[in-house]
Amino acid sequence: MFRWRAIGPLLLFTLLGAGLWLLLADRIARRSAEKIGTAIVGAKVEIEDLHISLANGDVTIRGLTVASPHEALKNLLQADELVADLDVLPLLEKKVVIDRLAANGVRFGTPRATDGRVPMDPSASVSGRVMSEARDWAQRFQVPALQLATGKIDVATLDPRRLSAIPAARALNARADSSRRAWQTGLDSLRSSVALDSAAATLARLRTARATDLAALNDARRAIDQLKQARNRVTTFERNVTGGLADLRAGVAGLDSAKQRDYAFARGLLKLPTLDAPEIGLALFAPSAVAQFQRALYWTQLARAHMPPGLLPRADAGPPRRRRSGSTVRFPREHALPGVLLRTAELSFQLDPTAPQPKRYTGRLTGLTSDPAVYGRPTLFEASAPAVSAGAMLDHVHATARDTAGATVQGVRLPVLQLPSLPMKLDPGQGIAQLGFALRGDTIRARWSIRSTHVQWSRDSAGSTGQGSTGADLLWRTLSGISDLQVDAGVTGTLTSPRLSVRSNLDEAIAARLRTMLGAEATAAERRLRAEVDRQVDPAIAPVRARVTGLQTDVTKSLAEQRGRLDQAQKDLEARLRELTRIRLP
C-alpha cells in the first residue's frame, strides 16, 4: 500500500521547500505587506527591507513609505525603522498578533518624486469605495462662488420661457374660462324662471280671488314653497361659486408670488458677487475646510471598513489569483484572538521634517485590531509634546461605532491657502491648527480652525479672475494690510445631510469692500432687470387679472338678480295672501 522508497525524495522535497521558504520568506513577506498595505491605504506602500526572525519572534521593517491617497506628490508618512515583537503561536491560527511595535523616525507629509496614488475602482476595492463615498460626501456642500466683477455688470438676456409667471397666468386664464362656462351652466340649471312664472300666474289669480277660494289660496302656498326651494338652490349654487371665486383670487395672488420668483431668478442671472459676510467665509475657506473633513472621514470610514463592529461572520473579497477569488469569510469569536492585533505601538515622529531644526514627538497607539468586538477595547492613540496634543479613539466594540479624533498643533508651518476666485494667495506661516472630528454612527461633528498672526499675502501670477482689475486692486489693498488670520469651520448633522459653517476675520473686510465697490452698480442692474421682468410678465398677467375680476362681478350680479326676483315674488304672494286672510278675520 505504501511506496516506502518515495519517502526519501519526499523528505528531500520538503527540505528543499523549507530551504526555499527561508531564502525567500523575507521577500515574499515584503511583497505581501506592500500589496496588502496598498490595498488598505489606497496608495502605494513601499518597503525597502523586511526581515522576519521567527526564532526571536520579531519583524523588522526598514524604509517604509506610505504615499498619500489624497495628494499626488506627497507621502502620508515615512518611517526609518519599525520593529515588531510578533507572537509566533497565533500564526498557526493565521492570526497576526504584535505585542509591541517600535516605530522610529516617522515623518509625515514628506514630498515624493512620483504619484503614489493608485487607481481605485469603487466596485473592486474597499479603499476605492470609501474614497468615492468621501468624495460624494464632500460634494454635498454647496460652496458659493465669490466673483469679482471685472467691468460693468451684465444684464443677461431674460428668456421668457424660463419665467414662471407667464405659464401661471395662462393656466389661470384657462381656469377662469372653464369656471365661467361651468357657472353659466349652473345658473341655467337653477330653473328660477319656472318658479317665477308660476308665482306670477298664481299672483294674477289671487288678485281676482275671494277669501273663500281655498284652491287659489293653496296654489299660492305651493307657489311660495317653490320660490323658497328655488332660493335654496340659488344659495347652494352661490356657495359653490364663492369657493370657486376664492380659488381664482388665490390664483391671482399666486401670479404675484410667481412674479416675485421671477425677480429672484432674474437677480440670479446678474451673477452678482456675494455681499454677505458668512457667504464670503464659505466661498473663501470652505474648499480647504471640506478637504480636511473629507480626509478625516476617509480615514474613519476606512477604519470602520477594516475594523467592523460585531461578532457575526463577515465576508471579504478572497485573495487575488488566476482562479476565481471567491469570498473569504471570517468567524470571530468572543475571547478568542482577533485576526490582526497590535497591542502597543510606540511612535517617534516629526511633524515638520522640512524645518531647519525639526522637532521630535512621541506617540502611543494601543489596541489596533481587525476585530474590535473580539478584542473588547477601543483603539486609542495619544501624542503629546509641549506644542502638540493629539488623541483619537476608534470605538467599534459595540454595534454603533464611535470615532473621535482631535489634534492641536502649534508652531508648525501651516500650508499656503489658495483663495478661490481671488487673485492672491494667503501664506499663514507658523500658527496654530486644530482639528476635531467625531463620528457617532452617521452623526458627524467636526471642527477645523487655524490661527496665525504673521500672515503673508502674495498676488497670484496665474491670471485668476479679476487679476489686474480695479476690484482686485482694491481688495489687494484691503487684505494685504491684514496680518492676523482666524478661520473656524465646522460640520454638523448626519453624513447624508451635513451642514457646513465657515467664519473668518476676513469675511467682513471683504464684504464691506465689495459693497462699496459694487453696491450702486448692482442696484441699478437689478432695477433694469426688474423692469424687464415687468415688461414680459405684465402683458400676460393683466388680462387674466381683469378676466377674473369681471367674472366675479358678472356671476355675483347675476346671482343677486335672481335672488332679488325670487324674494320680490315671494313678498308679493305673501302680501296678497295676508290681504285675503285678513278679510276673513273678525
Binding site: 500500500m1 491560527e93 493565521k94 482562479r323 476565481r324 471567491g326 469569510v329 468567524f331 469569536r333
Partner: protein
C-alpha cells in the same frame, strides 16, 4: 500546444504503466483534487504527500491533475456557490467558528468560498471518479492497449530519460 502534448504524454504513460487499474484510478482521483481546488493550499500539500507515499499511479495523478485544471476553472462559479452556501448556513456557523479559531485549520483557507466549495466537490466526486476511471482503464487495456504498446512512438517515449525518473514513482505491483 505544449500543454496538450504533455497531457497526451501523461495519458499514454498512465494508461500503460505497470500499475493496476485500481492504482491508476486512485492516482487520477487524487490528482483531480489538485486540479479542481486552488493549487496553493495546505490540503493540496497533503494530497501531494499521499500521492507520493501511497502506492498509487503517479502518472495517473499527473493525468488527473492536468485533466481537471480546466474543469476546475470552469466550475469555479459552482464552487463559489457551494462554499457560500456551506459557510453561511447558520447551523454550521459554530463548526466553522471552531475551525477558524483552532490552530492550523485556518491555514487551509477553508473559509474561502471557492476553496471550500471545490474541496467538498472533489471529495464527493472522488469515489465516483475512482470507480469510473478503474472501469475505463480495465476496458482500455483489454481492447486497444496492447496495440498501442507495440507502436513505435510509444517505444520512443518510454526510452527517454524522463521515463527513468518516472519509474522511480511507478506503482509496485
Amino acid at each position: 500546444m505544449l500543454s496538450i502534448v504533455k497531457l497526451l504524454q501523461s495519458l499514454v504513460k498512465a494508461l500503460h504503466s505497470e500499475g493496476t487499474p485500481g492504482q491508476l484510478a486512485a492516482g487520477i482521483a487524487l490528482g483531480s483534487i489538485l486540479g479542481l481546488t486552488p493549487l496553493v493550499s495546505l490540503h493540496n500539500a497533503m494530497v501531494f504527500g499521499l500521492i507520493v507515499i501511497l502506492n498509487v499511479s503517479f502518472p495517473g495523478a499527473v493525468l488527473g491533475w492536468a485533466l481537471f485544471i480546466p474543469i476546475g476553472f470552469l466550475l469555479d462559479p459552482v464552487f463559489d456557490s457551494i462554499g457560500h452556501t456551506l459557510l453561511f448556513t447558520p447551523a454550521l456557523t459554530p463548526f466553522w467558528t471552531s475551525l477558524y479559531n483552532a490552530p492550523v485549520f485556518p491555514l487551509t483557507n477553508f473559509n474561502n468560498t471557492v476553496t471550500l466549495g471545490s474541496l467538498v466537490f472533489s471529495v464527493v466526486f472522488f469515489l465516483p471518479l475512482f470507480f469510473a476511471a478503474r472501469g475505463a482503464v480495465t476496458r482500455y487495456r483489454a481492447t486497444i492497449g496492447e496495440r498501442v504498446r507495440q507502436s513505435k512512438w510509444y517505444r520512443a517515449l518510454t526510452a527517454s530519460k524522463l521515463y527513468n525518473v518516472y519509474r522511480l514513482f511507478r506503482p509496485e505491483t
